[in-house]
Amino acid sequence: MRLAEHIYRTISTAAGPLLFLENIQQARIGEIVSVRAPDGRTTEAEVLEIAGGTVLLEVYGETRGLDIAKTTVTFTDAVRKAPLAPDMLGRVFTGSFAPRDDLPLYVPDVWKSVSGAPINPAARARPEEFIETGLSSIDCLTTLVKGQKLPVFSCAGLPSRELVARILRQARLGEAGREFAVVFAALGLTFREYSFYLEAIGAMTTGFVAFVNMADEPVMERLLAPRFALTTAEYLAFDLGMDVLVVITDMTNYCDALREVSTAREELPGRRGYPGYLYSDLASLFERAGRIQGMKGSVTMLPVVTMPEDDITHPIPDLTGYITEGQIVLSRDLHQKGVFPPIDVLPSLSRLMQRGIGEGHTREDHRKVANHLYASYAKGRELRRLEAIVGRDGMTERDRTMLDLADAFEREFVHQGEERRTISETLDRGIGLLQKFGVDVQ
């Protein structure tokens, strides 16, 4: 513990976002420092590496205008913490936790480290409480439960924004009376998207906190914003007892920012230039979702990943899929058919669904309906390939029925436009569809 701030003017090298300083006493790894340019502008930086008295800093924000002779660096002896208070509900912040809504910052109740601490696996409670999103394809076939992390895998040009906005508007996290909040982290947002989301958030009736980093704002903030968002979510969930839904969009921008920073640090690149620790880094975010035994709140995560080149084996969706508990995959084909939400249920999956459905959670016939719908649609989709080769006339009567079922499933079950369906309506609709095509639900 140092008793006073240390101020240095010993920069030896400055390159891109990195600064090397010399003759530093007792620096801490991860310590926050402030860098003051000759023109009086200050930005924050973090200690990245220490070797004896030489310290490597990474600057958040603009480094243009820094020099070697006059720039001063102040060491704070503290790692990055987030100011938290119940008053933060309803506020919009930048990626470095500055208010974006022209209001002053509240008086913080507590400060918590942004990197968070891992939840002890022995203290976790098994996620099993159903969340109703009002969308049939999710509620019935890729059921979301409290404490789950379920990403949306989208492709460029698909309506992932609209889907997220719908879920934000419609999601019901359990029984009435429980407090529910949304924490929204937007990374590298274009102005167009920003106005869209702002409108969606404005229409929400529940509490929210938003962290918005625009496309033209510092890349380093893109790495910070989700950490602030999750620290906030943990505070709301485990200190204030709320059920929190964290929406992060777009994780692809986050990963690209990480790659950019890693390259600047001259680290060894891994697949497609992303750093080798991309898995661990993503896990340090996603694993913060969960429930804790004996505590009221929960953190549920819904990150959006835009798959580059529509490729699900690209490192970003691939590593995300290995960490998260399933995925919701959007399909270009369905979108072109005018289906909204264009969710392809075949590659979509919810790993925690088994615990969250059935009697006491949704309805006792949920599992059966879901299995039949999935199997019938999968069969229909397989037959579509066959149809392309041998033609509809070359197929048996039964096969033709299954083809029709697959079409009807997309049109009537997956597609729902503006309508909100309760889980009961969803299941009844599913049963009706199966019966219409002669599939025995028993």
Binding site: I24, Q26, A27, R28, I29, G30, L48, E49, I50, A51, G52, V79, S113, G116, A117, P118, I119, N120, P121, A122, A123, R124, A125, R126, Q148, E267, L268, G276, Y279, S280, A283, S284, F286, E287, R288, A289, G290, I292, Q293, T313, H314, P315, D318, G321, Y322, I323, Q327, P347, L349, R351, L352, Q354, A378, E382, L386, I389, V390, G394, M395, T396
Partner: protein, 547 residues
């Protein structure tokens, strides 16, 4: 001896402490973080820290422990749940709350808990390394307490009845105490007299595995599969139902929620072989993906050492790791923070040899006390992008006896376990098929061959059908496809959430025999001139009634 931190880069810390040894355990900083010496230079030592280093400052004190990274071995490990450094997670939770913060050292064993001790030696007996001093009742297991000193000794006094690990079990004539527990360096394999060939099956209760790609006691299986192919579910099903005495399960860099689910399930479920609680025969080692990377690397060694300890008592132990890719990635992260020269895809070049050395710890052995114990391994691999040509999968292939490839397209069809029945193989296939033919039924071998044949024929026919359409095939061929579909759906497919999750060998054989009998019968009817649709309709009713 005390030194100071002189440099920090991620999980590696440089210290100026002289007199350290390679791989010695080190306490780093005011928080007393655990670390291990990985490089020694004239003026500094490089320490790999097993905990979060954020907030650590240059100039903080460093202390050497004088011993390498160890695990504590003794009664009380069963039913426990540990992190990668063998800290008991449940006591950690009770002490520190739901979040894990760095620098808390807790011993894996409870030194004050009373145990009932039954001595097996008396005054005047000569004890040497590995001799059984006596037994402790650990739940339903007879926990054999070994003599752990390298040098022989003659027993002078011996305790009996209720003891705790803080007390000595007895004394030797040279005055030294005999302890009920001991420490063992995690990276050193435990000794045994000799290795024996593995010829016996390890029944998993998974039909596709037991029947087509069997596992051997003392063998190693790898399960590679892309995400969503059901690696974890398959490993957990095997952990629940495998015909072994003790299960050591490592969640290595995987999901926390999954582990919470596993723990609750293991507490509720019964072992189908003994009807005891599953948790009573299980040790869990958990290092979820957001826990420190270096501890993840150590976790599989911590776990395998505990597995070897129970093997040495003459038990059949199954070691499962999910997933080895995360371990390899941890190795890669550490290697890159040490600025080592990277090999393929950035993995260090010693990945293959380190892995091979690890896998060699499996096997059937004659222990130092003359008992026979086995350690079998099942390792899942998560190849990036589902690409099996990547280094970790390939390194595993070179060492494993059974290869169970999980197939994304099968998983998308919800065919679980999604084991690809053309690419998978088992080197133990012949021996174990003979074993089952001897122990279960003489029909085993023949049925297995028939089943394979049908699957293979159907695959060839499917390719034809994709061109000419199913209608274009002959009736006998369509029957083969139909039967293969039945095998796929009713035999190879097994729902992990139903009563069918565990299928003993007798049931496995009965079920395939039913399908083969149906096929033979239908074939006869076809030859007699009955149409295929009619044959299928009548026979399928028959099969359904028979069940």
């Amino acid at each position: 001896m005390n030194g100071r931190i002189i440099g920090i880069a991620g999980p590696t810390v440089s210290v100026d402490l002289p007199g350290l040894k390679l791989y010695e355990r080190v306490y780093v900083g005011h928080a007393m973080l655990t670390g291990e010496v990985v490089r020694l230079e004239r003026k500094r030592a490089v320490v790999q820290v097993y905990e979060e280093t954020r907030g650590l400052a240059v100039g903080e004190p460093v202390k050497g422990a004088g011993t390498p990274l160890i695990v504590r071995l003794g009664p009380g490990l069963l039913g426990g749940m540990f992190d990668g450094l063998q800290r008991p997670l449940e006591r950690l939770r009770d002490d520190m709350g739901p979040f894990i913060t760095a620098g808390k050292e807790l011993y894996a064993l409870d030194y004050l808990r009373p145990w009932r001790f039954q001595p097996a030696m008396k005054k005047g007996d000569l004890a040497s390394l590995g001799t059984i001093i006596g037994h402790v009742e650990e739940g339903a297991f007879q926990h054999a307490v070994p003599f752990t000193r390298q040098q022989e000794g003659t027993i002078s006094t011996m305790a009996g009845g209720d003891i705790c690990l803080a007390d000595a079990l007895g004394t030797l004539e040279d005055g030294t105490d005999i302890a009920g527990c001991h420490e063992w360096p995690v990276r050193a394999p435990r000794p045994f007299r000799r290795k024996l060939p593995s010829t016996e099956p390890m029944v998993t209760g998974q039909r596709s595995i037991d029947f087509l790609y069997p596992l051997a006691r003392g063998g190693t299986a790898v399960i590679p599969g892309g995400f969503g192919t059901g690696k974890t579910i398959l490993e957990q099903s095997i952990a629940k139902f495998a015909d072994v005495d003790i299960v050591v399960y490592v969640g290595c860099g995987e999901r926390g929620n999954e582990m919470a689910d596993l723990i609750e399930e293991f507490r509720e479920l019964k072992d189908p072989w003994t009807d005891r609680r599953l948790m009573d025969r299980t040790i869990l080692v958990v290092n979820t993906s957001n826990m420190p990377v270096a501890a993840r690397e150590a976790s599989i060694f911590t776990a395998v050492t505990m597995a070897e300890y129970y093997r040495d008592m003459g038990y059949h132990v199954l070691f499962l790791a999910d997933s080895l890719s995360r371990w390899a990635e941890a190795l890669r992260e550490i290697s890159s923070s040490l600025e080592e020269m990277p090999g393929e895809e950035g993995y260090p070049t010693y990945l293959v040899s380190r892995l091979a050395g690890f896998v060699e710890r499996a096997g059937v052995v004659e222990t130092l006390s003359g008992a026979v114990g086995s350690l079998s391994m099942i390792l899942s691999v998560s190849p990036p992008g589902g690409d099996f040509t990547e280094p970790v999968t390939q390194a595993c292939l070179r060492t494993a006896g059974t290869f169970l490839m999980l197939d994304t397209s099968l998983a998308h069809r919800r065919q679980f376990p999604a084991i690809n029945w053309f690419q998978s193989y088992s080197l133990h296939e012949q021996e174990i098929m003979e074993h089952f033919t001897r122990t279960v039924s003489p029909a085993w071998e023949q049925s297995a061959r028939r089943c394979r044949r049908l699957l293979k024929d159907a695959e060839a026919l499917r390719e034809v059908a994709e061109i000419v359409g199913a209608e274009g095939l002959q009736d006998a061929d369509r029957l083969v496809m139909h039967t293969a579909e039945m095998i796929r759906r009713d035999f190879l497919g097994q729902n992990a959430y139903s009563d069918d999750a565990f299928s003993p060998p007798e049931k496995t054989l009965k079920r395939i025999s039913g399908i083969i009998a149906f096929h033979e019968d239908a074939l006869k009817k076809l030859e007699a001139g009955t149409g295929l649709e009619e044959v299928l309709a009548s026979s399928e009713r028959g099969v359904r009634n028979a069940e």
